[in-house]
């Protein structure tokens, strides 16, 4: 299998990149290539131009910023897995990344690439939603910010114009100690999830839940925050009954259905995985 012919561009700066995007037609941006390369090899994607952003040096970083952690769009999954700032402020991302592909794909695959590809069952958008991430998009008119909650317009469709590129993502990480959990079910390890669930829980001095976040992938075209369950949990006890009741909220989700996996099965998975993720998060919050 061979990729179709295309013209190749490898800009060295974001300015050069946005300049190219503003003038070329039918372009695909090549980030880590772990989704686009198979699509090219199988000719699902037939671009006239491939713009390779691997040579833009200042898109690969993890930085502590006001209110969170900013990650360059081209930061490899393997880098994030081992990054001390990610381990400290967003350990749930490390746990989620262990479900992403294999060591050979994580060494190339990027955080920004995953957020633009937007497979509905992908772990990385799910974690971005868990942290109410802000996506930084560069274009000829300058940089603009988009909330992760407005980012997914439809099936594998990000809210980005053809002449724009995602350059960074800021995770709104939590101040203070909290527990986390990420659970997933896939037929084979390394496949996209059928359903995945991530949870964050903070406890107050009395051991009650002071803050909770739950994000579920694989049930809809975008990651779903289980806000009703988060509200139910906040201010209440961190016990098995409360966790089970919160997880039951997932049973009411509208879920996608396809030839292999029914919506009903996804609902059951969402409920079970939410319960497990919350359980893990509470245990870790207790330390």
């Amino acid at each position: 299998m061979k990729a179709p012919p295309f013209a190749y561009h490898d800009p060295r700066s974001v300015e050069e990149l946005t300049g190219l995007l503003g003038t070329l037609e039918n372009v695909r941006i090549l980030a880590g290539g772990q989704s686009l390369m198979p699509m090219l090899n199988m000719r699902y994607s037939m671009p006239d131009h491939v713009v390779d952003i691997n040579r833009i040096a200042d898109l690969d970083y993890v930085r502590r910023v006001e209110g969170g952690l900013r990650i360059g769009a081209m930061t490899r999954q393997r880098t994030l897995e081992r990054d001390p700032l990610v381990a400290q402020y967003a350990p749930v991302l490390v746990e989620a990344l262990h479900w992403v592909g294999h060591v050979q794909t994580r060494s190339r695959g990027t955080f920004g690439g995953s957020l633009c590809h937007l497979d509905p069952a992908s772990e990385q958008p799910c974690v971005a939603a868990l942290f109410d991430a802000t996506l930084h998009v560069a274009g000829a008119r300058g940089e603009r910010d988009v909330s992760i909650h407005d980012w997914v317009l439809g099936y594998m469709t990000p809210a980005i114009e053809p002449d724009e590129a995602l350059v960074g993502i800021t995770l709104r990480t939590w101040d203070g100690p909290h527990g986390y959990g990420f659970e997933e079910f896939a037929r084979r390890h390394g496949d996209y999830a059928i359903v995945a669930a991530g949870a964050l829980v903070a406890l107050d001095g009395a051991g009650k839940i002071s803050r909770a976040a739950i994000s579920i992938a694989g049930v809809d075209v975008k990651p779903i925050r289980l806000t009703e369950a988060e509200t139910m949990l906040t201010g209440g006890p961190a016990d098995a009954g409360a966790i089970a009741a919160a997880a039951e909220v997932a049973r009411g989700l509208e879920c996608m259905s396809d030839a292999q996996i029914s919506g009903d099965y996804r609902r059951r998975l969402a409920t079970t995985l939410t319960r497990r993720a919350l359980d893990k998060a509470v245990k870790r919050a207790r330390g």
Partner: protein, 163 residues
Amino acid sequence: MDVEEKRRISLVVNGRKIEREVSPRKHLGDFLREDLRLTGTHLGCEHGVCGSCTVIADGVLVRSCLMLAIQADGMVLRTVEGLAEPDGTLHPIQEAFHEKHGLQCGFCTPGMLTTLAAVIEENPSIDEAGIREAISGNICRCTGYETIVDAALSAAATMRQGA
């Protein structure tokens, strides 16, 4: 627009400096096999699933079917042909595959060898779970993986002693 416009790339493959003209759409696996005649790297699925095309690029494991050759410009590559010493002495993982019958048909073997060589070199104390995790991205249809895991554990032990 001449889409087939070639570009000159230079890289180091198994210690040898290489300069070639490549078409942008040619993936690294095809470049190794067709342009450099390094046919040890096998192409199975060509969409990143089977792992047999795994090579070591700038010290990290990559699927050569999911990289363009043009992207390897300036890189240092190791393929299965580069695991043995120049005098022909096999890498401990190759020796162990021979000893423990770590292959049958041999199709997946180059990907298994490059993957295991890289992970064991990085961490010779790797345990069985780590080895199984490392090769979870490499499909073998013959062995049932057991003899491959045996070989990897044996190679790791050899490399711990040799270090």
